[in-house]
Structures are given as structure tokens and as C-alpha cells.
């Protein structure tokens, strides 16, 4: 399942996409994120899945544009720590 966490508002589309089929719940991304945007827990949208999966915390879902600000400066992008940390490549950002 491709879980898109985030939103679209007047200024653009901001989604962190987690591919739950690829995610193995290793929690490397949680540790790598400097802002506590990610967590690992039960798959909320698949009531019958037992393995835990990575998610964007509820606190950050509605402000990912701002939450991810530190890793996405206005000029000079760095490779995103969460994506680098993910072995199976389950994380992607739409902006």
C-alpha cells in the first residue's frame, strides 16, 4: 500500500509516501529524522496486518512542509536522511 501523508494547499503539494509493502518496520528512519516526523506502529489502514510499519506522526501530518523544513532549505538540497536510512527504499517525498 502506498500511504501518502501530508496535504495539498494553495502553495503546493507536500506528501511523504511510505510504501508499506516494502517497509519492514526496522525504525532506521525514525532515528535518522532530526525532527521526529516519523514513527513505527501498527498499520492503521490495514486492520488485518500484524507487522508494524513506518508512519508520519499525527502531529506532523498537517504541517509536513514546515516539519521537513530543516532538511529542505530554500537553496542547496541535501540528501534526505530518512531516505538514506531506509534499506528497502520505502520512503519518498513529493517535494
Amino acid at each position: 500500500m502506498l500511504a501518502h501523508y501530508g496535504y495539498k494547499d494553495g502553495s503546493g503539494e507536500y506528501f511523504i509516501v511510505i510504501d508499506t509493502d516494502k517497509c519492514d518496520g526496522c525504525e532506521e528512519c525514525v532515528a535518522a529524522c532530526p525532527c521526529g516526523v516519523l514513527e513505527v506502529g501498527e498499520d492503521e489502514n490495514d486492520p488485518f496486518r500484524e507487522e508494524p510499519v513506518a508512519r508520519v506522526t499525527e502531529e506532523h501530518r498537517k504541517k509536513v512542509k514546515y516539519s521537513c523544513g530543516p532538511c529542505k532549505p530554500a537553496s542547496g538540497r541535501i540528501p534526505l536522511p530518512c531516505m538514506e536510512a531506509c534499506g528497502p527504499g520505502a520512503i519518498s517525498h513529493s517535494w
Binding site: 494547499d9 502553495s11 503546493g12 504541517k63 512542509k65 516539519s67 523544513g69 529542505k72
Partner: protein, 259 residues
């Protein structure tokens, strides 16, 4: 030598007259639905205040969203440019300028020469601009001018989860029904918008000194929330909402001298 700068904002048109780099007169009129007429009204009123006629002005520069509507202006400058000019003149130590207006939020990075090196603008989402506080003031049935002082009375903050003006309004209404103290709700409103402005500032990079201008700088509650979020002192000029008009006037002065 007298010059004029006009800032044609969405909500207010601000006009300023400088005489040899000193503020001689300033006026703010409501933009209403006809920015062209409002700009003319602003010019007439500011000339009256200065005791001058239009021909006494050596040069007029316009800025703001409605700058193209100011047909009598001889040049225009972007709001980012205007802010940078004004603030660098007032505070040469400033490297980060935050401007929050009625419908737009901006963060500008300048170097020691006052030149713009980076900026970020939010003009698409009302939650990052003055409309947010204005709408919440209506929902709380308090005057906008009273928001600041009221929020400083608060001892605790109440979370506002909604990031959108439309949704936050409903959330504020339910907080009122849940009998939360108005000062706590107002403080939460200021914390919420300060959070967004601070994030935008961080994306540009906070470099001291930091200045805050624009209409919202008059709201002491918002200023307090922003200082706490950024963990920075803020330099705020005497008439913060006039910073773009001032910047435009400086440009006018340079142009008049043959710049």
C-alpha cells in the same frame, strides 16, 4: 528633495513622503475593491499631510501587489526589494527580515550591503498571514487591536490542530464552547501562526540580527510567540506596516539623484 513611496497592499495602501531621507508624512488607506482609486486617495492624503503638491515630488516609486495599478508611479520595485532596502537602512546589522502582512508572509535574507541573497514567500495559504489572526479575532468577538495584550495574559496554551483558517475558525468556536479562557485561545492562535512563520524563517536560515515588519508586527502577542519559537530577539521599527512604503521611497530617492 521630496520623494514618495507607495505600497499597494491587498488590504491597505500605505504612502510615505521622504524629505532628504527623513520621513515627512505617512498615511494608510483601505484598499477596498479599487486599488487604483485607493492609491490616488493615498497620494492625495499624504501630500496634504506634508503640505505639498504632486509637482513637488521629484520621484514616485510603487510596490505591493497592486503596484501596476499605480499609474502615476515612475518606477516599481518588488516587495522583497523594498523590505530589504528599508530594513537595511534602519538596522544595518540585520541579516534576516520577516514581513507578515494581511495576505502574505515573507522571509528575506540580506547581506551587509543590504542586498537580497535569498527569500521565501507564502502568498497562497491564508493561514500564514494576517488573515488568520483577523478571522480568529472575529470568531472570538474581540477587536484585532486587543488580541496582543489579551494573549500575553495567558498562562497556558491550548492546542490548535487545524492548519487552515477555515478549519481553525471552527476549532476556535468549539474551544469557546468548551469554556476555554479567551486569553488561552488567543495565545494559541498566535503560537500557531508564529510556528508557521518560524518554520519558513528556518527554511531560509536564521541569521542575526532578525527584524520583523508588516502589520502583524504591531500585535505584541504574535511578537512574543514568534520570539519564543525562534529563540531570537526581534528588531521592530516604529511603524512596521510602512516598511515597504519606506523602501519604495528610498528607491525613489536614489532614482531622483540619478541612480
Amino acid at each position: 528633495m521630496n520623494v514618495a513611496g507607495l505600497d499597494c497592499g491587498v488590504k491597505n495602501v500605505k504612502a510615505m513622503i521622504l524629505e532628504d531621507d527623513k520621513i515627512k508624512a505617512k498615511i494608510s488607506v483601505l484598499s477596498g475593491f479599487d486599488q487604483k482609486a485607493a492609491a490616488q486617495e493615498a497620494l492625495d492624503k499624504v501630500l496634504e499631510q506634508a503640505g505639498l503638491k504632486k509637482d513637488d515630488l521629484a520621484y514616485i516609486t510603487a510596490t505591493g501587489t497592486g503596484k501596476e495599478e499605480v499609474t502615476f508611479a515612475e518606477s516599481t520595485i518588488t516587495e522583497v526589494g523594498a523590505d530589504a532596502k528599508a530594513v537595511s537602512f534602519l538596522y544595518p546589522s540585520v541579516r534576516t527580515v520577516i514581513d507578515v502582512g494581511a495576505e502574505e508572509g515573507r522571509v528575506i535574507k540580506v547581506n551587509e550591503a543590504g542586498k537580497v541573497i535569498d527569500f521565501a514567500i507564502n502568498d497562497k495559504c491564508a493561514a500564514g498571514a494576517g488573515t488568520f489572526t483577523e478571522t480568529m479575532a472575529r470568531a472570538l468577538e474581540i477587536k484585532l487591536e486587543e488580541m496582543g495584550a489579551l494573549s500575553l495574559k495567558s498562562q497556558k496554551s491550548v492546542p490548535i490542530n487545524a492548519q487552515c483558517v477555515v478549519f481553525a475558525e471552527s476549532e476556535v468556536v468549539s474551544l469557546i464552547h468548551a469554556k476555554h479562557a479567551k486569553e488561552d485561545i488567543v495565545r494559541a492562535v498566535h503560537d500557531a501562526i508564529a510556528d508557521r512563520i518560524a518554520s519558513m524563517t528556518r527554511s531560509i536560515g536564521i541569521e542575526k540580527d532578525v527584524a520583523l515588519v508588516g502589520g502583524l508586527a504591531r500585535n505584541i502577542g504574535f511578537v512574543d510567540s514568534l520570539k519564543r519559537d525562534l529563540k531570537q530577539e526581534l528588531l521592530i521599527p516604529e511603524n512596521p506596516e510602512y516598511s515597504c512604503a519606506l523602501g519604495a521611497a528610498f528607491v525613489a530617492a536614489e532614482k531622483a539623484k540619478g541612480g
